[in-house]
Symmetry: C2
């Protein structure tokens, strides 16, 4: 069965002090339906991605909040897999379409993170680790360990990490919905506030509010981007039990299944939205997805091989790093942003890569225009 | 496509001070796999139902916790819809089987609720209401409003409410895993501590720890219970915007779709596990599911027409009221318990009914032995 993305919408990402959770959710749903040229009554079911509205906003049962926006109350469900919630909501929607249960469905991801203190947000996000084995570990600390290991094993440098941030902040200048619109130099990133050695504040994606939505349909839809394949991988949630600390095995597994389903290889991909929650995470991603040889991700980035001048454009939206990272929205935003680019015609084949936690869950989608 | 339940397992429900979240999750998964006569490697994917481990236990990303119990790290996802999480995880699994993505999958529901204070548990559970429009409302308060309205409109009595509790506590005596094994009289229920008029402490389901799991397969499996149909209904999350306060429209919608898919009617159902989070909720359920005429649920219960001597056996497990209500586990436990009864051969056709919040989400499954 062919599944098409006929509509997509991304709200402004940022510290949106004047916007509430439900408001962002509704803006994204309405925007995607309008983008698809549909009426609300055409939506047969809703798949909501959200990590932690129960913690950030005391609001559980978000599927009901989404459904009641429609006078026909379509069936709705929430999907969660930490920061990979968005892409797994897309997968859940695909399964329901492939089962023939529905023909046209809505996927919406949302997170409202700025109504709690930074300390509380850090605590909530840390719930995506193993809270027993990694008690007290923040995500910057875990990714710092991965960065240290990658630097020791492959000679990845401080400057190469900074190159990821510089590139993604440059890309975000072209994305009006991005959280940040500010150029940085390599030195500015390298000398920014230390968070967890070697990661500095400008290596980290921000705390963000935002929502994104896509309309998926199994009706024939010429001219709409098509989902060619998806894959999901899992690994140990805690770093201590991983086979390697310089590869995310979950990403490799997800990519293997997605490429097999799409009958494509990494060299076919022209553009990718990858999960750069930290600069080091983008280096892992482009290596583990097969775009560059293992260990060469930092050099490839510093050599401008992952931007307009390279073979594969990485994170044209600005990525999590500069576009922002409202965690439940991110996986949906990646698919929505890529669908928009494919509709515009500059690229024909693209990929999205969404990671949960420090790499226990990873999901890859491959789309063609 | 035919979908069979080849294995099921329910842990002890109760205040399990010596059992942790992960431990309960693993006991249920292992138990269901053993019950199905399978090996762990046979599980192709896992669907985890949980309402609020991120609040009760600070643990998000529960799909990864489930997956890492298996050396082959099967893909896993968490599904949430407040107290209807369990049944919607079963639906998500059915969709993936019907899509042909997997042939054999595991559904596991779990909740560990007793590591926080009762006040905190009440607060967390209230997150399944509309936190803006119903700010401060606890679930007993919302169901008390529904009970008042039902009493005013149909003459439902205090004694009839008590009859639900007396019956379900009697049924629980036959269920070793039930949280409570204690007989009550009508007077004991009617004179128990007032919580929210007219609901008393013995009208309410308890705070519980527990887990349940089922193995679903699309492989032919003669002798295993089969899922004949399912349905999902939604309604406004807040009571103020409902068309009626004496009917759960979501239950009626879910039942309509489930009966249509199963090509059956309410008179075909011999046994049902329904969502009796409060005694009044069982009265609503048996009316809205079509087992008894609207308004007569209380009388039917007091007349012993919903137990062994009646046409339809309601809540043989003891229901949420006496078996216990670990919220994320409940919907899976209903399916698991019914599957066990159907395997034993006493009944041939049964139904499960799972509700989220005060009725914004409802899910019905129909099974045959």
């Amino acid at each position: 069965m062919k599944i098409f993305i006929t509509g997509q919408y991304i709200t402004k990402f940022g510290e949106l002090w004047d916007r509430g959770l439900n408001e962002l959710l509704i803006e994204a749903m309405d925007g995607a339906i309008t983008s698809a040229g549909l009426e609300p009554k055409d939506i047969e079911a809703i798949f909501v991605a959200n990590k932690a509205a129960g913690n950030f906003e005391d609001q559980h049962h978000l599927n009901a909040i989404a459904s009641q926006h429609f006078s026909h109350y379509p069936p709705a469900v929430r999907v969660e897999a930490a920061c990979a919630s968005g892409s797994l909501a897309v997968v859940a929607a695909e399964q329901a379409l492939a089962a023939g249960t529905y023909k046209t469905v809505l996927v919406v991801g949302v997170e409202k993170m700025t109504d709690v203190s930074s300390e509380m947000a850090t605590h909530i996000l840390s719930g995506a680790t193993d809270v027993h084995l990694e008690a007290g570990s923040t995500f910057p600390a875990l990714y710092a360990l991965l960065a240290q290991q990658h630097m020791a094993e492959y000679g990845t440098t401080r400057e190469q990490l900074s190159a990821v941030a510089v590139k993604n902040h440059l890309h975000a200048l072209e994305n009006p919905e991005a959280q940040f619109h500010k150029k940085f130099t390599l030195d500015q990133v390298s000398q920014s506030l230390l968070v967890a050695d070697p990661l500095r504040i400008l290596d980290c994606s921000p705390i963000s509010d935002g929502a994104a939505a896509v309309v998926l349909t199994s009706h024939p839809s010429s001219g709409s981007p098509q989902i060619l394949g998806w894959g999901q991988g899992q690994d140990s949630i805690d770093l201590a039990n991983r086979a390697s600390l310089t590869t995310l095995q979950a990403t490799k597994t997800a990519a293997k299944h997605a490429f097999a389903r799409a009958k494509l290889t990494p060299t076919d991909i022209q553009v990718a939205e990858v999960h750069d929650c930290f600069t080091i995470a983008e280096i892992f991603a482009i290596e583990d997805l097969g775009f560059v040889p293992k260990g060469s991700g930092g050099a490839a980035t510093l050599d401008n091989r992952t931007t307009t001048s390279g073979n594969v454009m990485i994170n044209p939206s600005g990525g999590l790093k500069a576009c922002g990272h409202p965690v439940g929205a991110t996986g949906v935003k990646q698919v929505a942003y890529l669908a928009k680019l494919l509709k515009q015609g500059q690229y024909q084949v693209g990929l999205t890569h969404n990671v949960g936690g420090s790499g226990a869950t990873a999901v890859v989608h491959i789309l063609k225009g």
